[in-house]
């Protein structure tokens, strides 16, 4: 995101920002990040470990 957009978000009223934090938390809980270690490594076809 562009810095100008971030600064614009920073200038929003605190109550609005807290509401957005709530949305971010809700999203993070619904779609938890998978760590790279949990992602199965894909090998090229025919390759063996």
């Amino acid at each position: 995101m562009k810095l100008e957009m971030r600064r614009k978000l920073a200038r929003e009223p605190f109550e609005e920002k807290i509401r957005k934090v709530g949305q971010l938390v809700r999203l993070a809980k619904r779609f938890p990040r998978r760590s790279r270690r949990q992602t199965p490594r894909r090998l090229p076809p025919g390759a063996t470990r």
Partner: protein, 170 residues
């Protein structure tokens, strides 16, 4: 289960009301919002899972009055989970202010949140505290604050000088 999009996930007004109650009951001398939520007062919103409240204890003994604070909040329905107190499932840490954080509480900015009067660390103190802790996430916070917050550069310089702190080099 459908989620109510209007439901306030961060019950900050309840948290601040409770902190005001602790001050009125004489269990703490003063307090201010610190940590990530204080940073969000000045910068774009980002994900955080708890609130940090720094307080100046009335009880200057070893426990800083923490057992009485916990008992007071538990009597009002708060729950305890490890180092956090939970209000409507939202974790809150009550941290004893000392040195730089005590100064940050005493010089904190007054604001109102949903009609509840409260105090929040000034941007310059948030930066100084991050500089004093110095983890990677603190360095990122400093960069974010420098880019987005409206700062009083003179105040920041004085705080850094007074506490012998330096900002990390980019």
């Amino acid at each position: 289960m459908p989620t109510d999009e209007r439901a306030p996930d961060i019950p900050l007004a309840d948290v601040l009301r409770a902190a005001n109650g602790l001050a009125s009951a004489g269990l703490i001398e003063d307090y201010a919002l610190g940590g990530a939520l204080a940073a969000i007062y000045y910068v774009e919103p980002f994900t955080t899972y708890d609130a940090d409240l720094f307080f100046i204890p009335t009880d200057k003994g070893l426990t800083a009055g923490i057992p009485a604070i916990y008992a007071h909040l538990q009597s009002q329905g708060w729950q305890v989970e490890r180092e956090h107190l939970l209000v409507r499932g939202f974790p809150v840490q009550f941290l004893v202010a000392q040195g730089l954080t005590e100064e940050a509480v005493r010089e904190a900015e007054r604001f109102e949140f949903q009609g509840v009067p409260a105090k929040v660390f000034r941007a310059e103190h948030i930066i100084a505290i991050a500089a004093s802790v110095g983890r990677q996430k603190d360095k990122a916070r400093i960069e974010q604050m420098l880019q987005q917050a409206e700062l009083d550069k003179t105040r920041l310089e004085h705080i850094l000088e007074r506490h012998k702190l330096k900002l990390p080099t980019p």
